[in-house]
Amino acid sequence: MKPGKDIISDIPEDHIFSSKYGSVKVYAEPPDKQYLTAVVPAGGTLQLTIPHGLPFVPMVMWFAELSPGSGGWYTGAVTARSPTDFAAGSPYVPLGDPNTYVDATNIKVKYRNDTASNKTIKYYYFIFADNGE
C-alpha cells in the first residue's frame, strides 16, 4: 500500500501493486542501460534493426535525441521535430515510413538526413513483454 493508505482499500490507486491488476513489464533495454548512437549519412538514410527475442510483436517505447548535445529527447520514432531541430536539419523518420515498425522479430527504425553533413543521433528503447498488437 501507499503511505497513509489502508491495506483493505479496494481503490486501485491506493496500491503500489496488487496481484489483482496486471502491469506492463520491461523486458529489455539497450546493453548496460546506456543510450546508443548512430550516424545518419549526409543526404542519406540509416536503417536501425534491433532483434528483440520475443515470440510475438511487443510494445516498444523509443526515445531519440535528434540534435547531438541538445539534450532534447523525443518519445516515439515518428515525431514532429521542434522548430529548432527542424531548422538544424536534424535526422527524422518521415510520417508513414514503411521501414519503421515493430514485428515478431525486430524493431526497425529508419532515419533520414536531408543535410550535406553526417548527423549523429542518440537513441534508447524499452521493450516490454506485453503485446504491441
Partner: protein
C-alpha cells in the same frame, strides 16, 4: 517511527547497493496497474470509467504482424474516454490506474 518496505533487485544486482533503476520493484515506487487493455479501430472511443485522466499507452497496428511505437499514433485520453486516432488503423491500448493531471 521506522519505515518498512521491500525491494527486489534484478538478476546480477545487489539489493542493498544497487541503483533504483536496477530494481524489479520497490515499495518506495508506484507501479503501473493496468485498468484495461484491448484493440480498437481508429476513430472509436473506449469509456474508461475512471474519475480522472489516466496514463495510457497507445500503439498503431497498421498491418497484421506489425506495430508502431508507443506515443506515435496521435490518440488521446480525457476524463471519460480513450480516443483512438486515425480511421483505417487499429490501435492496441493500455489504460492505467495512474492519473497524470
Amino acid at each position: 517511527m521506522q519505515d518498512y518496505g521491500f525491494k527486489i533487485a534484478q538478476e546480477g544486482f545487489d539489493v542493498p547497493i544497487c541503483e533504483d533503476k536496477d530494481l524489479v520493484m520497490s515499495s518506495e515506487f508506484d507501479m503501473l496497474k493496468t485498468a484495461a487493455t484491448g484493440v480498437v479501430n481508429g476513430g472509436d472511443s473506449v469509456s474508461h470509467g475512471l474519475a480522472y485522466t489516466p496514463l495510457f499507452f497507445s500503439i498503431d497496428i497498421s498491418i497484421t504482424g506489425k506495430a508502431g511505437f508507443v506515443g506515435d499514433d496521435g490518440s488521446y485520453v480525457d476524463t471519460t474516454v480513450y480516443k483512438a486516432h486515425i480511421a483505417g488503423y487499429q490501435k492496441r491500448y493500455y489504460l492505467f490506474y495512474q492519473p497524470f493531471e
